[in-house]
């Protein structure tokens, strides 16, 4: 594989837009870089300027100050036609096209290279087929776009971006509106594409759990601190992540490097057992305000075994249940 390159380099960038005659600055002094062959995820709360940043990087809207270098050249110096061969986008806006097949849509991705009438030649056809097979929707190639599910349509748009043969792909919330398995599939697909094609893939998302697990680099965007970047692991080590989502009810679990919902615990119960059974009981009880652990001393003892769950009160067996639902009923009664 080729060496990682700084494909997009941002220096002291200010983004925002003009409202009437005043200028509304959304974010200032951003300095960072996006590398080829990597999946970079942009995380941030609603309204923090993720879309504005993406729009600035696609040259859809002018930057306020600073510099954006795409492959070493300032973005404003590229004519539209050249940018079309450099950056492709997948947007959130839903396509309302009827009577167009997936293949025709992906074919439109070749527009920057086709001639006056937009006809595809043999080479274009081959690239279109390849793009479709890369996102694994060959079976959908002749389906009409308006009959696809949200996830399938999203994949078709990614295939369009691939057919555009750009070194950079920018995606605005590609996992929004998808069900959970599709979200995972989408992220894995993008991650895999960044590896196999050595493309620079940059996306904004609200699915932070997934991003933290799959992304190579994370960009955290927030009002007070601007943008912090790094691998998810580095950001978790230096406390950026826990600081970033420091809100009531959310805990950044340093052990797993993931987030969990904070529960208020007002009772402690001793729990013995091992493996998944132990963790699952712990999780269920924690949701109900009970801290269950081996380290705790209490009158009540729960034994999680392969056969079921045994509850002891002051050393005496008070009941046996076969699943957690019944256990909860017994404990909370």
């Amino acid at each position: 594989m080729e060496r990682k390159q700084r494909v997009i380099e941002i220096k002291e960038l200010s983004i925002g837009y003009a409202v009437k005659k005043s200028v509304k600055v959304v974010a200032e002094r951003i300095t960072s870089a996006i590398f080829s062959g990597e999946l970079t995820c942009l995380l941030g709360a609603n309204g923090v300027g993720k879309s504005t940043l993406l729009r600035t990087l696609t040259a859809f809207q002018p930057k306020l100050a600073g510099e954006v270098f795409i492959q070493g050249k300032e973005i404003a110096c590229y004519p539209e036609k050249q940018l079309a061969a450099l950056i492709s986008v997948v947007l959130t806006e839903r396509l309302e096209i009827r009577n167009m097949t997936v293949r025709q849509l992906v074919g439109l991705g070749r527009s920057p290279y086709t001639g006056f009438w937009g006809a595809l030649n043999k080479e274009d056809e081959r690239i279109v087929d390849q793009a479709i097979s890369l996102v694994k929707i060959t079976n959908l190639a002749h389906r009409m776009i308006d009959t696809l599910s949200d996830g399938e349509r999203q994949k078709a748009m990614i295939a369009k971006a691939l057919a555009q043969e750009t070194p950079i792909i920018l995606l605005d919330e590609p996992t929004a509106f998808l069900d959970f398995p599709s979200k995972v599939e989408m992220m894995q697909l993008l991650h895999q594409l960044s590896r196999t094609t050595n493309k620079t893939i940059f996306l904004s998302t609200h699915d932070l759990e997934l991003a933290l697990q799959i992304a190579d680099k994370i960009w955290l965007m927030d009002r007070e601190n601007g943008i912090r970047t790094g691998t998810p692991e580095d950001l978790s080590l230096d406390g950026s992540l826990s600081h970033f989502f420091a809100r009531k009810g959310i805990i950044f679990d340093r052990d797993t490097g993931l987030f969990r919902v904070e529960n208020e615990l007002n009772r402690q119960v001793r729990l013995t057992g091992r493996g998944q059974r132990y963790t699952m009981v712990r999780k269920a009880l924690s949701r109900n305000g009970i801290l269950a652990s081996r380290q705790v001393e209490s009158d009540t003892l729960i034994e999680a075994t392969e056969e079921g769950f045994a509850v002891f009160e002051s050393g005496r067996l008070s009941g046996k249940v076969s699943n957690i639902e019944e256990l909860l009923e017994k404990l909370l009664a």
């Binding site: 859809f60 806006e93 396509l95 096209i97 009577n99 025709q104 527009s111 009438w117």
Partner: protein
């Protein structure tokens, strides 16, 4: 592809059929062979027949053919640019603009100039055409100016509709101050007709359209990209402002010319693109643009034929016929859309 070719051939044959029927059918029956002779410059046919064909039926048929094609292309362009299935030449206020221009000429000539324009003959006809083009151009410039400033296409469409309302209101005021004869002349113009273009004018009209229609074919790739919406189109290297300017200008000029010569003809521009999408099951403008050109021509010829059917004797306004055929098409499109949205 085979299916498309077949559809194209069938539509083309229907044009020829309707063209011939338009020449043959009428209050005075002329045998087909005589029509053939007259068309190819034979001298043996009677002078009355020659007059009927060259001064009435032939110009009317050619006008219908060309106007139908032009309006349909204009409608398709509007629907793609505004990404709105209900956009059409009359929806953007272009027709109203032309109507306003004509209203100024027809209605004010009586009350200011002292003579009713309808009595001026050829000069009057030219004045009406110029006024219609002028009015349409004014509205068009306003729309284009707005299109360069506002972002959303829906806003632009609503502005068009509003301009249409204003034009209609001004026309209403003008009517109030005009004499009866002029109002009647204006109302007749407003009904729309393919028969107003006289034998000499038809060549000018067909000539203009022969330039404008091929010009709109040059915008096919642009239109295909615009299907994807502004974001994607821009990302694929399209200069969206310039593209919008070209397509709207092209569409407006075509509509203005046709409205000037035929009066406002409704529904063809709206219905034909929908009909073609249904027939060809495609959104690709490389297929749709030629398809609407041919289908529009064919449908306009058919409408003209129905309007002139024995019994109506030319009394049936063309707009009634286009509406009767066009409205069901639009309704069926709306129903089809609803169904796909539910499932």
């Amino acid at each position: 592809m085979k299916r498309h070719a077949l559809s194209f051939i069938l539509i083309f044959l229907s044009i020829i059929l309707f063209f011939v029927l338009n020449l043959v059918l009428g209050t005075i029956s002329i045998p087909l062979s005589s029509i053939w002779h007259v068309l190819w410059g034979g001298e043996d046919a009677s002078e009355i027949w020659q007059n009927i064909i060259w001064k009435s039926r032939f110009p009317q048929t050619v006008t219908a053919l060309v106007a139908g094609a032009g309006l349909s292309i204009s409608g398709l362009q509007m629907q793609t640019v505004f990404r709105n299935p209900l956009a059409g030449p009359s929806e953007l206020g272009i027709s109203s603009g032309a109507g306003l221009g004509v209203a100024f000429i027809i209605l004010l000539s009586g009350s200011i100039g002292g003579t009713a324009l309808s009595k001026l003959g050829l000069f009057g006809e030219v004045a009406v055409s110029v006024a219609a083009i002028g009015g349409a151009m004014v509205v068009m410039s306003v729309i284009i100016a707005i299109s360069q400033r506002v972002k959303g296409n829906v806003v632009l469409l609503i502005m068009g509709v509003m301009i249409g309302y204003i034009a209609t209101a001004v026309i209403g005021v003008l009517k109030f101050f005009s004499n009866e004869e002029d109002v009647r002349a204006y109302v007749i113009w407003g009904l729309g007709s393919f028969s107003k273009v006289s034998g000499g004018q038809v060549y000018t009209f067909a000539g203009i359209m022969a330039v404008l229609i091929p010009l709109s074919f040059l915008l096919i790739k642009t239109l295909n990209l615009m299907l994807l919406g502004e974001g994607y189109a821009r990302n694929l290297g399209l200069n969206i402002k310039r593209a919008r300017l070209y397509v709207i200008t092209c569409s407006c000029v075509i509509t203005a010319m046709i409205t000037a010569y035929c009066g406002p003809v409704v529904f063809l521009g709206l219905a034909v693109p929908h009909l073609c999408r249904a027939i060809f099951v495609s959104s690709d403008h490389r297929i749709l643009v030629p398809a609407v050109t041919l289908t529009g021509a064919s449908l306009a010829l058919l409408c003209n034929l129905i309007a002139r059917m024995p019994g109506f004797e030319g009394a049936l306004p063309i707009n009634s016929v286009t509406a009767l055929i066009g409205a069901p098409v639009v309704i069926s499109v709306l129903f089809g859309k609803r169904k796909s949205e539910i499932s």
